[in-house]
């Protein structure tokens, strides 16, 4: 045979808790302390409750179109909790939970979902970029920020979040390729929730995994059980450590599932089966985590009630604050376009009566 094999690539997968929530890898699982587990559980609950409340607000017409992340809480929380304050995050519109955990006040988020740009005025000290709407287009930003960190010789990493759909976009490719070339301290987290609106993952790309794409860019890609908070945390942490110690980028494909509609403007029943939904409902991250907490003897109903109540109170307060915020002034339409207003902009502000 004139053909000879010149290269072999192995794609790895990480799971610590199995689908029912028991330790698939007891050694790894027991490395997490009780306190850590409790903090993780609180984060999961916080994300679940926020999302539920946001959905009700939307139904009541109190916020605009909202993209639920129901089912993806472990992937969001597991990765976010692995970050350090100095890391820079580049999320999409579905990473509401990541914003919350990185410290963005819930008030900001509710304002944003009302259609108020001020919601994405991220407070100084929180290095999370505003939600990126054009799918995939923000991935190169993480590469650039990571290149900047490397140039500045800072022990930081840049993290991009994006979906399975986004992995089909040219920006994904150019960004990961450049990150590989410059060995940039970047972590690329693909939230493979099996759907891009109505397009199933199988029709998004013909490759078996999205993770394996990383090898063409000269670094590792791995698959993680995205509904297993411990696995997501560990994979993210490992990737961040590697990035910060000069090991270059990593692509992490979190296998998860969007249990809700794409957004509140979508009706997933048009394109996917009840059976599929039921199957994934069985692997839902909170239930799994609860089961493992029980195994560890650190969960009971009262405990969960108490934690929930605290979270709910905080979010309720944030909703009140958000709704009590005065609407943006009309001059805001123009004022943030550039640092200084042009003559034309000044005229427009005056003629339209936007200065008052």
């Amino acid at each position: 045979m004139p053909y000879k094999t010149i290269k072999t690539i192995n794609v790895r997968h990480l799971q610590i808790l199995d689908e029912s929530g028991h330790a698939a890898d007891p050694a790894e699982a027991s490395a997490f302390s009780d306190d850590q587990l409790k903090a993780f559980f609180k984060a999961l609950l916080q994300l679940r409750i926020y999302n539920d409340l946001a959905l009700s607000l939307q139904r009541e017409g109190r916020i605009g179109t909202y993209p639920s992340y129901y089912g993806q809480e472990a992937a969001q929380a597991g990765s976010a909790l692995a970050m350090e304050k100095a890391d820079w995050l580049f999320p999409t519109f579905r990473e509401t939970g990541v914003y919350l955990l990185m410290g963005l006040p819930a008030t900001n988020l509710f304002r944003y979902w009302l259609g108020d740009e001020r919601g994405m005025k991220i407070p100084e000290g929180i290095n999370v970029m505003p939600m990126s709407v054009p799918v995939g287009s923000h991935i190169p930003h993480a590469t650039g920020a990571a290149m900047a960190m490397k140039y500045k010789k800072r022990k930081e990493a840049a993290v991009a979040y994006f979906g399975d759909g986004a992995s089909s976009r040219g920006d994904f490719h150019e960004a990961l390729n450049m990150a590989g070339v410059y060995k940039a301290p970047a972590v690329f987290i693909c939230m493979n929730n099996q759907w891009a609106i109505s397009l199933p993952r199988s029709a998004q790309c013909a490759g078996d995994t999205i993770a394996q794409r990383a090898f063409s860019y000269g670094f590792e890609g791995l698959q993680v059980d995205g509904n297993d908070m411990l696995a997501v945390y560990k994979a993210t942490k490992d990737a961040l450590d590697k990035a910060k110690s000069g090991g270059g980028p990593t692509l992490i494909e979190c296998i998860t599932y969007r249990l809700g509609n794409h957004t509140t403007a979508d009706d997933a029943k048009r394109y996917r089966s009840e059976a599929e939904l039921a199957k994934w409902m069985g692997r839902e991250p909170l239930k799994r985590f609860r089961a493992y907490m029980k195994d560890r003897g650190i969960w009971n109903e009262d405990y969960e009630k108490e934690v929930s109540a605290g979270i709910r109170a905080d979010i309720d307060k944030a909703i009140k604050e958000a709704e009590a915020t005065a609407p943006p002034e009309l001059k805001e339409i123009i004022l943030n376009t550039n640092a200084e207003q042009t003559a034309r902009q000044v005229r427009e502000l005056e003629e339209n009566g936007w200065l008052k």
């Binding site: 605009g64 179109t65 519109f93 009302l114 259609g115 108020d116 740009e117 939600m131 709407v133 054009p134 799918v135 995939g136 287009s137 759909g165 986004a166 089909s168 976009r169 040219g170 920006d171 891009a196 609106i197 109505s198 397009l199 029709a203 998004q204 790309c205 403007a265 979508d266 048009r270 394109y271 609407p327 943006p328 009309l330 805001e332 339409i333 123009i334 943030n336 376009t337 042009t342 034309r344 902009q345 427009e348 339209n352 936007w354």
Partner: protein, 333 residues
């Protein structure tokens, strides 16, 4: 919202439908008439498109002709270009106008240049459909109106319907056109107005404007989403309202004839003014009709600012009041 029921839409049987339905009918007709016509884009299949313009077409024509694509705008337009030079007539849906930006190189460097580059050997019979504009309280980047950018691309036609009737007829004409057409649909009007539309196929010709209201004091030029506001704001004036319909190449005669009559012109569009299409129309009128002008040609447009999200959108978009103020300025000059 005012109902614009074209005078031409009088043949029977007629259906009272939304623009979404009218477009759906047009697509259905085109697919039925010519097996070289395909529809492709994100979520156009089972989901029927996020605005449901292609509802039911997958069931009728199958997934080889109603092609759900990966999330890859430049791949979509690039592949559609490959199909069209091969001989098919793809109709591409770009989910929102701002999402065509990744694929602008395909439009500008290939789709619009292939006839010239190959001196006619290869041509591109393609229609790119995309919704535009504010007024739907969409998330960020769901409300752009950047038609002017595409009007600056030699070789491309740019069309904007304003009613169910002309949406159906213009889309048919766009598919029939041997060159590429960007077909920009005002999202705010998708379901905002209903009108009678003939059930049978018909075309509304490209490059012809329609005089929606005759008048002799003021010429108002608008299209798509702004047309109805521009019309509403004419109350009290003998204004002639021109629905441009095809933005590039626009109907020069209809504009100049009206200017000759009125001597006063306002152009209304939603996009930011600087280098918007209003500038071209104004410059064109200045070049050809300066002696007829009794007042400056004014534009009432979006400001020089980033398109806002829901809370500010109704201020960014020219309102009936703002438009009326502009008319007043021109009338009182």
């Amino acid at each position: 919202m005012a109902e614009v029921d074209s005078k031409k839409a009088v043949t029977s049987p007629r259906l009272k439908v939304t623009m979404v339905k009218a477009l759906n009918m047009a697509l259905d007709e085109q697919l039925a008439a010519d097996e070289d016509v395909l529809l492709m884009g994100e979520d156009v299949g089972l989901d029927g498109g996020v605005f449901r313009v292609s509802d039911g077409l997958l069931a009728k024509y199958g997934k080889e002709r109603i092609i759900d694509t990966p999330l890859a705008e430049l791949g979509i337009l690039g592949a559609a270009f490959g199909m069209s030079v091969y001989g098919l007539k793809p109709i591409v849906e770009i989910q929102f106008m701002a999402f065509i930006y990744e694929a602008i190189e395909q439009v500008f460097s290939h789709i619009t240049r292939t006839r010239s580059r190959s001196r006619g050997r290869f041509t591109c019979n393609m229609v790119i459909r995309t919704p535009y504009g504010l007024g739907i309280k969409g998330p960020e980047l769901h409300s752009d109106s950047t038609e002017a950018i595409f009007c600056h691309m030699p070789g491309l036609k740019v069309v904007v319907p304003s009613s169910p009737y002309n949406a159906k007829g213009l889309l048919a004409a766009a598919v029939a056109d041997p060159d590429p057409v960007l077909f920009v649909e005002p999202a705010r009007l998708y379901r905002g107005l209903k009108a009678h539309v003939p059930e049978e196929p018909y075309t509304v010709p490209l490059s012809k404007a329609e005089i929606i209201q005759e008048g002799s004091e003021l010429t108002v030029i608008a299209w798509g989403s702004m047309l109805h506001k521009a019309l509403e704001a004419t109350e009290g004036y003998g204004a002639e309202v021109i629905d441009l319909l095809t933005l590039k190449p626009f109907d020069e005669d209809t504009i100049l004839n009206s200017v000759k009559k009125t001597g006063r012109v306002v152009i209304v569009h939603e996009a930011t003014g600087f280098c918007g299409l209003g500038a071209e129309i104004s410059a064109f009128i200045g070049e050809h009709s300066i002696l007829h002008l009794k007042a400056p040609v004014l534009r009432c447009t979006g400001p020089d600012a980033v398109v806002p999200m829901a809370l500010l959108e109704k201020y960014y978009m020219p309102s009936v009041e703002r438009i009326a103020r502009t008319y007043k300025k021109v009338m009182e000059f």
